[in-house]
Symmetry: D2
Subunit: 376 residues, 4 copies
C-alpha cells in the first residue's frame, strides 16, 4: 500500500503547485485532482464503510473529488477541475497523509478490507493518467517544459514479421484468482478462426511510410467518422509530432525528441490505427485473438494496443452492486478495448485480461497498435 | 425492377413537391433527394459501367446526388440537401424515367448486370428512409400533417415470456446464396452460452411502466454517454411521444394517436433500449443470439430490434473492391446492429443475416428492442 | 395597396413551390414564408382590430407566421421556417386573396385603417428580403440557378472625389409628415463638425485594389471581432464572389457575372466596410453626416450604405404601444445603421430618414459603403 | 511608479501560486498573467524603445505575455492562459523586479519616457481586472473562498430622485491636459436636449423589486438579443446572486453576504440594465448626458454605470500610430460605454472622460446603472 501511494507522489516530484493545478482539456485532469481523487476513493469506499470511527478529513471533499459516481452524489463539472485552486496542494497532501494513516491502522487489524485492492489498482490507473494528462498540459505550453530526466530503458523490438495462431476454442477473461477489475470477467470460451498477429507493435518508422504514402490524405483508407476528424482537426501525424528543421519530432515527458523510427508508434487514435491497418493490407486484432495469444507477443507493454473490439461486457458479466457498478459499467458503449499496457503503466498492473478503453478519437494516451490478419 | 421503382414513387403519392424538398435535420434527407439518389446509384454503378452507349441524363447530377462515395468524387454538404430546390421534382422524375428505360433496355439483353440486385436493394433501403425522414419532417411542423391513410394491418403480439436457447456452436452471417449486402457475410461459426430471449418485442405499455418508475430520471440505469443525452435533450419519453389531454400520444404517418400499450415500442434510441433492459433486470441480445434464434422470434418485423453488438465486420469480411467498399465498410465504428426489420421495411427485403446499423442516439428510425438474459 | 401586394407576387414569378419553400440559413426565410408573413401582418394588425366581422382564414396561421412578436404569442423556431411544407404554397396564395379581399372591403369604407400604411411598408421591406434570401438560397446550390432575366438599368456613377459639408447644427429624423417607421423619428437637432463625403459609393474596382493590397490578410486594418470573422470564415472577397478562369466573378439574381469594376461593391459586411475605409485613409460617415447631406449624394440607392452609427433610438424616441413596440424597438443593440436603399428596394420606399439595420457580420444583404473624412 | 507596481502585488497578497494560475473563463485571465502582461507592456513599449542597452528578461516572454497586439506578433490563444504553468509565479515576480529596476534607472535620467504614464495607467486597469477575474474564479469553486478581509468603506447613497439638466451645447472628451487614454479624446462639442438623471445609481433593493415584478420573465422588457441571453443562460438575478435560506445573497471578495438593499446593484449586464430602465419607465443616459453632468452625480464611483452609447470613436479621433492604435482602437464595435469607475478602480484612475467598454452580455465586471429621462 505504501509503495503504491508513494509512487503516485514520486511521479510529481519536481513539479510546482501551479503545474499540478492546471487542466489541459476536459478529458484530462490536473495532477492535484488525481492526488485528491485517489484519496477520495479510499476515504469513500474503504475507510468510510470499514471503520466506524473514521472521520473524513473534510466533509466538502466528498463532493469536490467525486469523479463520476452518481451513487455518491453531485460533483463539480468535469471541465472545471482546473478551477479548484482551493483546497491548495498542501491540503491535498495533508489529506493523503491523514488517509494513509487511517489505512495503516485499518491494515494493522485483521483481514484486508474488501475494497483495498481495488483502491490500489485504481490509484495505479491514475498514476498513468497523471503522466498523460501532464504531457497534454505541457504540450499546450509554448515553452514545452519537460519534467522527466530520461525515457525508461527499453529493449529493441523483435524484427517485423508474423506469428500464426491456429484459432479454435479458447478462453479469455479473468478467472477470479487474484485481483482484477470487474470488466475483465467472467472468463468464458471463445471460438476463433486461424489468424496471425504482428511480431511487434507497428513502429514509428512504419508510420512515417504511411504518412509519406498520403495516409492522412486518402479518405478511402478511413472510417467515415474518422475521416471527419482528420479533416476537422487537420491531423497529419500522431499527436505531439511536429516537423521541425527538416525532421519529424515528438514531445515527450523528457522533452522534444526526433521521432525514433525503431520504437512503437504512440499517440495515435483508433481511427488512425484502423486506417493504418487498412493501408497495410491488414486489420486490427480483436480482443480474443490478442488475449489468447498474449503470452507470445513481442514488444508488448510499450504502448497500449488498440483492438478491433468495442468495449462491451463479457458474456455473463454482471455489474458489481452499488457504486462499483459505475466503475466500468457505464462506459460500455462508444469505446474500443486496448490491451497490454504502456511504458507509463505501473509494473504489475496489467494482466492479459486487462481491458483499457477509450473513445476512438482519443490521442493523448500512449496508444499504438499491432497488426492482425487471417491465418491459413 | 419495375415493381421496386414503382413502390418508391407510390410512397410519396399525395405529397407535394414542397413536402419532398425539405430536410428535417442533417441525418435525414428530402424525399426528392431519395428519388434522385437511388436513380444516381443505378446510373453511376449499373448503367455507366455496363452500357458503353449510356449517356447520363445530366452530368451535374453525378455530383449533386452523390451521398458519401469518395470514390465517385465531391458532393454537396449533407446538411444542405434541403437547399437543392433545383433540379425541380419534375426533372428528377424525368430522370427516373430515363434511367428506368435504360435499365429495361439493359435487362432485355442477356444476363442481369452484376450490380442490379444491389441497386434494387439499395432503393428498398431508401424506401424505408423516406418514411422515417418524412415523419421527422412532419413532426417539426406545428400542423403535424399525416400522409398515410391508416397503419399497416398487424397481428396481436404473443404473450410476454421467455424462450430458452441452448447456445453451443452455431453459425451466423449470409452464406452467399442469393442477394445479401456485403456486411452480412461471410457466414461463420459462433459459440454461445445458453440464453433466453423475450417472446416478443418490448411493448409501449411496458415502456410506460419504465417511465412511471422514473426510468428517465435515474442515472444509474444508464450508460454515461446516454445519460448525458437524456439531460441535454430532456428526454422523458420516446421520440414523437407527447402527453396531451391526460394521455400519452405518438405521432405516426397516419396522424397523432394515443399510445397503444399492446404494440411494440418504437423510436427509442440504443441508450434508452439499454437502460430499459437494465431496469427490467435483463439485457439486450447480442447479434449472434438473435440471429441463430431468428426463426422462432415472435412479433418480429414490426420494429427494428437494437442488439448489444457494435456494428463491426464479421470475421473474415473483406471490403468489396472500388466504391462498393464504401457502401457499408466505412460505417463500422460507433454504431449498433439492429435486426429484423420494421413495418416500413419493404417486404422480402430483410433476412436473418441483415444488419441494420445506427448510432446509439438515433431515434427517428422505427427502433425498439427485445430483452435477453442468461439461460440455465 | 393592390400594387404593393401584386409586386410581391411578381417577384417570385417563374419560381417553383420548391424554390419558395427552402430556407438558406437561419437569418434568411423562404419566399413562401414572406408571402405568408406579410399577409399575417395585415390579418393580425389591420383586419383583426379594424373589422369586427373579419374571420381569420385559418386560426393556426396566427402562430405559424408570427415572426418575432412576443405580444402576439408563440411561434416556430426561426431556423425551422424551411420545414413548414404545410400549408402548401397554394394555400398561402389563397390566404393572400382572402386577405386582399377583406382589405378591399375595408378600404371601400371610410378612412384608411391606422395600420394600413405600415402593413404596406412592411410588405415592401419583405419584398427586398425575398430577393436577398433567394439569392442566398441559390448561392448554396451547385447549379447556381438564376431567376431574373437581367439586371436593373443603371446610370454610370459619378467620378471619384469628395464633397465637403460645413457641419454646424442640422436636423435629422422624420418630422411626422407622411409615413415613416417608428425608428426614423423624432426629428431632432444634431451638431456636426465640417466633413466630407465620397461623391459616390466605393466601387468593386476599388475593392479589388483593397484585395490586391492584402486587405483581407492584414489584421491591423480590422476591428478585433471583425478579424476573428475573417479568420473563422476565411473571407477573401465579398460574399458571392468567386475567382474563376482568371477573373473575379459574382453571383447575382441574373446569374454569375464578371465583377463590374465601375459598379458599387455590394455584399460586404460592416467589418469589411470599416476595414476598407481604414485602408483608404478614411472612415465611414455617421448617420447624421449622411442624412443631412442626403440630397446631394451621388450614386445613391444602388447599395445600402453602412454608416459608423450603431442602431440606437433617436433622442426622444418612445416605443409605439403594443406589438408595434417590437417592430424596431427590440433591435436597438448590436446593429449598425444603413442608409439609402439598394436596387432591390421598392421604388418610393426609402426616405433620407430611413434606418435599415443589420449586425456587423451580415453579408447577404445588398450592402456597400461610401467614404467620409474630416472637413476643413 | 513604485506605488502603482506595489499596489498590483498587494492585491494578490495571501493568494497562492495556484490561485494565481487559474483562468475562470476565456474572458478572464489568471492573476499571474496580469502580473506578467503588465510587465510585458513596460518591457515592450517603454524599456525596449527607450533604452538601447535594455536586455529583455527572457526572449520567449515577448510572445507568451502578448495579449492582443498584432503589431508585436503572435501569442498563445486567449482561452489557454490558464495552461501556462511555466514560467512559474516566482519567475514572473523576478521579471517584475528586473523591469522595475530598469524603469528606475530610466527614470533616474532626464525626461520621463513617453509611454511611461500609459504603462502605469495600463497596469491600473489590470489591477481592477485582477479583482474581477479572481472573483469569477472563486465563484466557480464550490468552496467559495474569499480573499479580502472586508469591503471598502462607503458612504450612504443619496436619496432617490432626479436632477434636471438643461441640455444645450456642451463639450465632452479629454482636452489633452494630463494623461488620458486615446479613446477619451478629442474634446468636442455636443448638443443635448434637456434631460434628467437619477440622483444615485440604481440600488439592489430596486433590483429586487424588478425581480419581484417578473422582470426576468417578461420578454417585452428586453432587447431581442438580450432576451435570448436570459433564456439561454437562465438568468434570474445578477451574477453571483443566489437565493439561500430564504434570502438573496451575493458572492464578493470578502465572502458570501446577504444582498444589501441600500447599495448600488452590481454585476448586471447591459441587457439587464437596459431592461430595468424600460421597466422603470426610464432609459439609460447616453455618454454625453452623463459626462457633461459628471460633477454633480451622486454615489458615483461605486459601480461602473452602463450608458446608452455604443463604444465608437469620438468625432475626430485618430488611432495612435503603431501598436498603440490597437490599445482601444480595435474594440470600437459591439461594446457599450461605461462611466465613472467602481470600488475596485484604483484611486485617481478615472476621469469624467474615461470610457470603459464591454460587450452587452458581460456580467463579471462591477457594473450597474443610473437612470435617465427626458427633461422639461
Amino acid at each position: 500500500m505504501r509503495a503504491v501511494r508513494a509512487r503516485t507522489e514520486a511521479l510529481v516530484e519536481g513539479l510546482t503547485a501551479e503545474d499540478m493545478g492546471a487542466q489541459a482539456m476536459p478529458d484530462a485532469s490536473p495532477a492535484k485532482w488525481h492526488l485528491g481523487h485517489t484519496t477520495w476513493f479510499f476515504e469513500t469506499f474503504v475507510l468510510g464503510p470499514s471503520t466506524a470511527a473514521y472521520r473524513p478529513f473534510e466533509a466538502a471533499f466528498r463532493t469536490l473529488f467525486n469523479s463520476y459516481y452518481d451513487s455518491v452524489g453531485p460533483r463539480p463539472p468535469r471541465p472545471e477541475r482546473g478551477l479548484m485552486t482551493r483546497p491548495p496542494l498542501a491540503t491535498v497532501l495533508a489529506w493523503r497523509r491523514h488517509v494513509d494513516q487511517a489505512l495503516e491502522r485499518l491494515l494493522a487489524g485483521d483481514a484486508a478490507p474488501p475494497m483495498l485492492a481495488l483502491g490500489l489498482a485504481h490509484e495505479e490507473q491514475h498514476q498513468e493518467l497523471m503522466v498523460t494528462d501532464l504531457l497534454a498540459l505541457f504540450a499546450r505550453n509554448p515553452l514545452e517544459p519537460s519534467w522527466q530526466r530520461r525515457p525508461p530503458a527499453t529493449e529493441p523490438l523483435p524484427a517485423a514479421g508474423w506469428n500464426a495462431w491456429p484459432g479454435g476454442i479458447g478462453a479469455i477473461g479473468h478467472d477470479g484468482a487474484g485481483f482484477a477489475f470487474d470488466n475483465e470477467g467472467p472468463r468464458h470460451r471463445v471460438l476463433l478462426a486461424p489468424y496471425r498477429l504482428g511480431r511487434r507493435p507497428v513502429t514509428a518508422g512504419e508510420w512515417l511510410a504511411f504518412m509519406a504514402d498520403d495516409g492522412y490524405r486518402r479518405p478511402l483508407l478511413w472510417q467515415d467518422d474518422g475521416w471527419a476528424e482528420v479533416v476537422a482537426n487537420r491531423w497529419v501525424a500522431p499527436e505531439y509530432w511536429d516537423f521541425r528543421d527538416g525532421e519529424w519530432t515528438m514531445l515527450t515527458p523528457w522533452g522534444r525528441r526526433p521521432v525514433e523510427a525503431a520504437a512503437p508508434v504512440a499517440h495515435v487514435s483508433w481511427w488512425e490505427a484502423d486506417a493504418f491497418a487498412r493501408w497495410a493490407g491488414a486489420r486490427l486484432p480483436n480482443e480474443a485473438e490478442w488475449e489468447t495469444a498474449a503470452e507470445g507477443l513481442g514488444g508488448c507493454g510499450r504502448v497500449w494496443e488498440w483492438t478491433a473490439s468495442a468495449h462491451r461486457p463479457h458474456p455473463g458479466w454482471r455489474a458489481p452492486p452499488g457504486a462499483m457498478g459505475e466503475y466500468n459499467g457505464k462506459f460500455m458503449a462508444g469505446r474500443f478495448v486496448l490491451k497490454g499496457g504502456c511504458w507509463a503503466t505501473p509494473p504489475g498492473h496489467v494482466r492479459p485480461s486487462s481491458r483499457n478503453f477509450f473513445p476512438p478519437s482519443a490521442r493523448w494516451q500512449i496508444t499504438g497498435l499491432r497488426l492482425a490478419g487471417e491465418g491459413q
